[in-house]
């Protein structure tokens, strides 16, 4: 009896000590990270600090969430013995409400680990695409918020908003810090893209936009403040115009929709319409859980978390789709962008050749200033800087469309565990 009492006391002390050290580690990390920001030539971006309305949230924000996410991913990459696979996935399906009849792979033991099962494909006939609709759902999930964007603010939940600039990156569209090197189109691809443009009423390319014909169309929505639109041919930096409130076209609105994917949902996302993505911005943020509870309690959640903003245009103008990561799903995959690596300690090799990055999302790295805020090295030694933004362009994907064309219902990518 005595030894069990002593054991209990030892365990509780050990638990208290270890949780205190984890929180302390997080606080030290935060201070260090602030130091990096102060040293860099950019003012720390306010929207990247957790303004917790309680000490529990502050303690939560000091946890090494990305490290936890990576460990979770490693754990789920461990290959399961064949006899254990099917019962494990059936248990997971039972707990999280997965409909196993929809899974494209009939034999569950072919999924080597939970990570593969989580990233499963489903039978196409179970998700018919409503081709007559103007827009379809990009993924399975639950609608959390939707509506019209007034004054550049998106409502997270009642009474809590975040700015579109913080979500998508703002102001000066830097010349692409990283060019995804496609083979330029050969004839039949050109024809296919011309067909895509014609069918989808895309009668302009980015040059039209830059030329001002579509002044309400392009990235102006990421910009506040009046700057005149000019394209400096030398550096291809576009100072983009237009204040959100004074949108030049009076018959259009900016809309938003937020869809939450639960752990049991099919975790690949598809194109909600026919559009062209010209730019990708990878914001290296935190990996807080995005469960509805945290959406209600953590201010600025969507501009704190790691996310990949795909920007571009559709026949009505500006279009963007932003997969936002979370602790258990730290890896965001984009099928046509092999260079994108999220939830990683090091920058992906591809940035090493061309990389400029900014440790501040207010304006992604700009080649024209020639001030490589973080010059990437040629080997995988560069650590990713938190709250930085790595931008890449898909302009090479198509001479006609100046971006990657995406058809309604086409699979774009998905979320992977860890």
């Amino acid at each position: 009896v005595k030894s069990s009492g002593r054991r209990k006391k030892f365990m509780s002390r050990w638990l208290a000590l270890s949780s205190l050290s984890v929180v302390l580690y997080g606080v030290v990390n935060k201070i260090k990270h602030k130091g990096i920001q102060q040293n860099s030539s950019l003012d720390p971006d306010e929207s990247h600090s957790v303004k917790p309305n309680s000490w529990t949230l502050y303690a939560y924000s000091t946890l090494p969430l990305k490290a936890i996410s990576r460990v979770w991913g490693q754990f789920n990459s461990l290959e399961l013995p064949v006899w254990l696979r099917s019962p494990s996935y059936k248990f997971y399906a039972y707990v999280f409400g997965v409909n196993l009849d929809e899974v494209a792979e009939p034999d569950l033991s072919n999924f080597r680990n939970l990570g593969e099962f989580f990233y499963r494909t489903i039978k196409p006939e179970t998700r018919p695409i409503d081709m007559d609709a103007e827009m379809v759902s990009p993924c399975d999930g639950k609608v959390l918020k939707f509506g019209i964007i007034e004054n550049g603010e998106i409502e997270q939940v009642k009474g809590m908003t975040y700015s579109i600039n913080a979500l998508l990156g703002q102001r000066k569209l830097a010349a692409p810090v990283h060019r995804i090197n496609y083979q330029l189109d050969d004839d039949d691809v050109v024809q296919r893209h011309e067909e895509f443009a014609r069918l989808n009423g895309i009668s302009y390319t980015i040059d039209d936009i830059i030329g001002g014909r579509g002044e309400n169309i392009h990235h102006s929505y990421m910009n506040q403040g009046d700057q005149s639109l000019k394209k400096s041919s030398a550096s291809q930096v576009y100072e983009v115009s237009n204040d959100i409130a004074k949108k030049s076209s009076f018959d259009k609105q900016l809309y938003f929709a937020v869809i939450y994917l639960a752990p049991g949902d099919y975790h690949r996302f598809h194109s909600p319409s026919n559009w062209v993505t010209t730019l990708r911005r990878h914001f290296v943020g935190e990996l807080f859980s995005v469960a509805p509870f945290f959406q209600k309690t953590l201010q600025n959640l969507f501009v704190l978390n790691e996310r990949v903003a795909l920007l571009g245009y559709w026949k009505h103008g500006f279009f963007s789709m932003i997969p936002v990561g979370a602790t258990n799903v730290g890896s965001i995959k984009i099928n046509f962008d092999k260079d994108l690596v999220t939830n990683s300690i090091y920058e992906s090799d591809s940035y090493a050749q061309t990389g400029f990055a900014s440790s501040d999302t207010s304006s992604c790295g700009r080649e024209d200033e020639g001030t490589p805020l973080i010059k990437c090295s040629s080997s995988r030694t560069k650590k990713v800087i938190k709250n930085s933004c790595y931008e890449a362009t898909y302009a090479n994907a198509s001479k006609i469309l100046r971006g990657q064309p995406l058809s309604k219902g086409q699979e774009i990518g998905g979320f992977k565990l860890g």
């Binding site: 007559d132 827009m135 379809v136 759902s137 639950k142 929709a257 939450y260």
Partner: protein
């Protein structure tokens, strides 16, 4: 995980959604 859509559309566009509505990929979410 979460997917956020931000896009420009004519004022006649409207969502065919409701808060907390369950969605399936490919289902109609908006029309003009």
């Amino acid at each position: 995980s979460t997917v956020v859509l931000v896009f420009e559309a004519p004022k006649t566009f409207h969502f065919t959604l409701a808060e907390n509505m369950k969605l399936k990929m490919g289902q109609r979410i908006g029309e003009l």
